[in-house]
Amino acid sequence: MADDMERIKREEKIWEEENKIGVSPKSPRVYTDLELEAKAVYTPADIQHVDYLRDIGFPGEYPFTRGTYPEMSRHRPWRYSVFTGFDTPAETNKRWKFLYQAGQPAFNIVYDMPSHMGVDPDDPIAEGEIGRVGIPICNITDIETLFKDLPMGKYPFYGNAESVAAIFVAMYIAAAKKRGITEANLPGAISNDPLSTAASKSTLAFSVKHSFRLACDLIEYACRKMPNFYPVQVKGVNMSEGGCSMAQESGFSFCHACAYIEECLKRGLDIDTVASRITFFQSTTPHLFEEVAKYRASRRLCARLMKEQYGAKTNSALAWKFTAYACPLWFQFEEPELNLVRGTIQGLAQALGGCQATPHPGYDEAYAIPTEKSQSLALGTQQILAEETNITKTVDPLGGSYYVEWLTEQMEKKIIEVMEGVKAKGGAINALESGYTKREILRYYLQVLKEIESGGRVIVRKNKYRVKEINPWERLSLHSQNEEVVQIYIEGVKRLKRERDNSRVESCLMRLREAAKGTDNLMPYLIESIEAYATLGEITKTLKEVFSEFKAPAIIPA
């Protein structure tokens, strides 16, 4: 065996010399996203030290390199969907019905910016932003409207929200209860990851420390009472949209996940419970093989981390679960239809990488909120990948490729380096508060930007093959806001505030304020307030009387 490997290496050298590979101007060196050179070809000698049973194994078994579950998507596709949210809950409900009919096995929303920041629609600071980049969710009636004539509880309810996630989940629990569905039966997931958000995007209503406390309250509550709900999706995708590298995405994500885990362990939960409920929300660029390697390496690394560092034992605690989103940073403005092609390749990387869920962006995402047409195309792209192409017939079809196994190993090493960097800065929260994480991400992105500006990284129609005559605005019929329904909605919020039992609201908020001063889990207080028709803005304001606010570091990298 060892002799064979030596022979292969010798032959490879001869082959390289004969073909003048990597030594002539015609054959310059080529690099991967890992800032490592990619050879012209890979052979068994490149992965000779990989022990199949120890390092790769079988899907659904330690170290899970090949997949989270034994059969993955062979009999049931991953959960594809599209993020929806615009104008008002009633308008979004209409789009949800369309998507339900089109076979979307999830209810998936995107919140508008005032909602992310815990601001009510009738607050003057939110003027012009209601229903713009997502849906306004202000109180329990909004969740009821959203699910009108739709089977709440049949499919998971997904959403991205960070420091106010606990408040939205309280709304979901309270609205479900009114329909006779108990929290124990509620399916869904919410990102609830203020740490990754502090590194990039920064949509936090409270300081890192206080957002973290509230996030852990939700995680703890779900671990104890909501067995079908995933209370945190560590948001690598936020950091990717902020420009990070693949290794940074997984590396920082693991550091943030460990922070949540350690806090929950302190609260008396056991590792197998907590680790099984933490999922990851990752991005996908069009760099297909690197992405597949990132997902495979992350599975292996997560399993080893959970086992060796925390002593996790069950498969569901050891197996890394992830949602993947075709990173909109790589959706381009020039010639919008080409984003359908990019999205398909990103979707292929997600499928071959073994994703569990894929909200897919519209090709018009770089311009505005997706239209019904672009959402149908996005959902259809995923459905074709999952059910028309035969790629799901066998698990991890790229496993065993010399190149992909080599890349997986290199990726794992790079992710570990990122994690060690954070450790040297005193852990995830210190690294975030000192601006280290954000600075590292921007440092990498400026490198990428230089590559784009110099043409070293080709982006078709943007820095190569430009066509002046293509005017993207003329090619699209973009979503435009129905301002009339938004005004009616805002009036409805004002009416609710007048007509509800305001003394009940006040006493609920008073109890919440007192609880926030101590260490009680705030979920029951949030649910009680929501049931009394308290609004997101009122709850956030109440918490801000106790919690400090977030100040995003304003960094222009050197």
């Binding site: 920041m117 939110a126 012009g128 980049v133 902020g242 770089a366 311009y367 930007l449 995003a552």
Partner: protein, 139 residues
């Protein structure tokens, strides 16, 4: 006499966190020899205009990805009119995914130029250099 260094405020109004565009423009304007002040996220129009006056900038560049560009720029332009001393002039430019029809409306309310998605950095630099107002220099 050495050429006066152009001072630019890059501002992020709105509640969103899409700041990569603002950061990229800020670094590239700095590379082009300008002095750049970046406000960071979630700034109100009042805060932005106050920073512009306090830092005595020549240019206010806003980066808006939250869809509220018309509302926010109207407020900023109104505040500039109300609060800025008569002899001081700002060059005001706006960036973000802004549709052409809205760019037109922004120019109508006094925004000097709109750089929508797909704009080139060189064009922004050139526009600023060609149009920067001559302000009385502060002693």
């Amino acid at each position: 006499m050495p050429e006066k260094i152009i001072k630019v405020l890059i501002a992020k109004p709105g509640l969103d966190g899409h700041e990569l565009g603002a950061i990229v423009v800020a670094t590239r304007l700095r590379d082009a020899g300008m002095e750049v002040v970046y406000t960071g996220l979630h700034q109100t129009p009042v805060q932005i205009v106050a920073s512009a006056i306090q830092d005595d900038v020549d240019v206010i560049g806003t980066s808006i990805h939250c869809g509220a560009h018309l509302v926010l720029m109207k407020k900023i332009m109104k505040l500039i009119k109300e609060r800025v001393p008569g002899d001081k002039k700002f060059l005001v430019i706006a960036g973000g995914p802004i549709p052409p029809a809205d760019s037109f409306k922004l120019k109508e309310i006094g925004v000097d130029e709109v750089f929508s998605s797909g704009s080139k950095i060189e064009d922004i630099v050139k526009f600023i250099k060609d149009h920067v107002p001559t302000n009385p220099s502060v002693p």
